[in-house]
């Protein structure tokens, strides 16, 4: 599958590029080592909780830049509750689709936006910090896309077992032996889970 014209348009002329001074909320997700990183800054009206302004910066490929552009368009002028409902599938649809191997870009962009909003809610007493549990791990695994299909590994029923005890997360994933994305998925699970301060080690068995 190729990039849609809409992806190319947003890639070549992205909307809302930059960094807001004194933002009310901000988040950075991904890492240069992984090849994509996105930073989002927001201005939020404290009375209405409407996103007055939003900007993003991107280190990443064409679809990373295009998804940053589309989700900032989608969030602009919305309340934070509305913006929280933007899904990675919705963002990909708004770009007339993404190749399956690029779906993770949409997940990263949407996740960054949600992290920024969550931070804002906690700081303004609108939400409490969620307690960490096995469900948190499952939710995090839903952000990991199997690049061959462009769907997350939980929905695809690739996750066979999730365990969490004494700071160690144990994940059992079912991926065929000669699958070219096998190592990639395993690495991504480790990276995602070990970013939690509650998790000392993530053991992934395939």
């Amino acid at each position: 599958m190729q990039y849609s014209q809409k992806v190319l348009d947003h890639f070549m002329k992205p909307h809302n590029i930059g960094k807001l001074e004194n933002p009310d909320a901000e988040a950075t997700e991904g890492s240069p080592a992984c090849g994509d990183q996105i930073s989002i800054t927001l201005k939020i009206d404290p009375k209405t909780n409407i996103i007055d302004d939003i900007k993003f910066q991107s280190y990443g490929c064409a679809s990373n830049i295009a998804t940053g552009s589309i989700i900032t368009d989608m969030a602009m002028g919305k309340t934070i509750d509305e913006a929280k409902n933007i899904s990675w599938k919705g963002a990909a649809d708004a770009l007339d689709g993404l190749p399956p191997v690029k779906m993770h870009c949409s997940v990263l962009a949407v996740d960054t936006l949600k992290k920024a909003i969550k931070q804002y809610e906690i700081e303004h007493g609108l939400a409490e910090k969620e307690s960490f549990s096995k469900d948190t791990i499952v939710e995090e695994l839903k952000k990991i896309i199997y690049p061959g299909v462009g769907e997350d590994i939980v929905t695809l029923k690739m996750v066979k077992y999730v365990g969490f005890e004494n700071g160690v997360a144990i994940i059992d994933v079912d991926i065929p032996k000669f699958d070219k994305y096998r190592d990639n998925v395993a690495e991504e699970i480790k990276e995602h889970l070990e970013a939690f301060e509650e998790i000392k080690e993530a053991k992934v068995t395939i």
Partner: protein, 388 residues
């Protein structure tokens, strides 16, 4: 404007002369050199002429050249053929971590079948570790394999020195080189370099796709890899690609008729590009060695703070084809393994761009490319959280 093509290491445009002769063979000279009738005799003469052109280009004898369906088929025939025929002499083989996938995947295959493999490390310019090579040789070492001109960074391995090291051993160690990148780009004489097996490919030198050749030194035994009807010899079973063989020979003739002139032109293009990038775009890093120690057609360079697929896509939109070592553009979403083995960071690998030239490229194309590249790099850096 016509598209500017700098992906000649992936595949190159067939020369008009190659297209002409290949078409002519498909139309009128498609016969196999099967028997002594008029068509068979003509086919046999033509085939012999083609083999001789290719053999001469590397200082080989016609009997030492076998046609294959490409570089990968030649590598498979060399490695599988040699190891199956010689495993009674030993089961240890040596290659390096930066070799072409054909070598690495074959090494892994034989490792699973009971062979032992030593993977040599490379320095930060892509030269394999010769001290490690010396120390790795054992009584049961039977084959050394290398990529003569590295497919990613163009590093030319010191084959003569390697041959001397192998010859210091008390027993014969065969040397197989994958020369698909280096052939017709640097002078290669199999006798002077002491090469035993060498694979080459037509489509990387303006020949047809789907045809390659294996040089097999006289006295080096290969086991049969593909069994079937024996038309040429038992290493080339099945039907022959007569038209492509004719096109391959024509491509070799064109490359070697003006070899030094062509190479000087391509070297000049590479130097010009590198110079121009380094003098106009800040924060870049050349991957691989500088100057004559790399194949003349290859420039690989990293651009700090930005990612390669985005550079590639933007350059594509302005009509320039180049490639990247970024994970985002790779099949398995991994950063380029050669650059990682050379000690480059993930970021430097993700931002690496590879330009591979041919004699059809021009200085004007490079002027346009660097002008656009400078704009693209500036634009992407302005969007990057790492730059601001």
């Amino acid at each position: 404007m016509e598209r500017i093509y700098f992906n000649n290491c992936l595949t190159s445009k067939p020369a008009p002369e190659v297209v002409k002769i290949t078409t002519e063979y498909m139309k009128n000279k498609y016969y196999f050199p099967e028997n002594f009738n008029a068509m068979g005799t003509e086919a046999s003469d033509n085939l012999e002429r083609a083999i001789k052109i290719i053999a001469d280009s590397m200082g080989a004898n016609s009997k030492e050249v076998h046609f294959t369906s490409g570089g990968t088929a030649a590598n498979n025939l060399a490695i599988k053929g040699y190891l199956t025929a010689n495993s009674n002499k030993g089961t240890h083989i040596i290659c390096s971590v930066i070799d072409y996938p054909d070598i690495l995947t074959n090494a892994a295959f034989f490792e699973k079948s009971g062979f032992e493999v030593t993977y040599l490390q490379a320095d930060n310019e892509g030269f394999i570790d010769l001290v490690q090579l010396k120390n790795s040789i054992r009584e049961d070492t039977i084959l050394f394999m290398t990529t003569l001109g590295n497919h990613t960074v163009g590093t030319i391995q010191p084959i003569k020195e390697i041959r001397e090291i192998l010859d210091n051993s008390e027993h014969k160690i065969a040397m197989h080189v994958d020369a698909c990148e280096a052939y017709a780009r640097i002078p290669i004489n199999v006798n002077e370099l002491g090469i035993d097996l060498m694979s080459i490919s037509a489509h990387k030198i303006h020949g047809p796709q789907g045809i390659g050749a294996l040089y097999q030194r006289k006295g080096i035994t290969l086991g049969q890899v593909q069994h079937g009807v024996n038309r040429m010899d038992n290493l080339q079973t099945g039907g022959m690609n007569i038209a492509s063989i004719a096109g391959f020979a024509k491509a070799v003739e064109l490359a070697f008729n003006n070899f030094e002139e062509n190479m000087a032109k391509i070297r000049k293009l590479s130097d010009y590009l590198l110079n121009k990038i380094e003098s106009t775009i800040p924060d870049t890093l050349l991957n691989g060695p500088r100057g004559v120690k790399r194949t003349p057609h290859n420039i690989n360079i990293s651009f700090d703070y930005i990612e390669g697929e985005a550079i590639m896509m933007m350059m594509d939109i302005v009509g320039v084809s180049i490639s990247t070592g970024s994970a985002c553009a790779s099949q398995g979403l991994k950063p380029n393994y050669v650059l990682m083995a050379l000690g480059r960071s993930h970021e430097q690998s993700h931002s690496s761009m590879k330009f591979t030239f041919s004699r059809y490229n021009t200085i004007e194309e490079i002027d346009y490319t660097v002008e656009k590249l400078a704009e693209v790099v500036k634009e992407l850096r302005s969007r990057s959280p790492l730059y601001n």
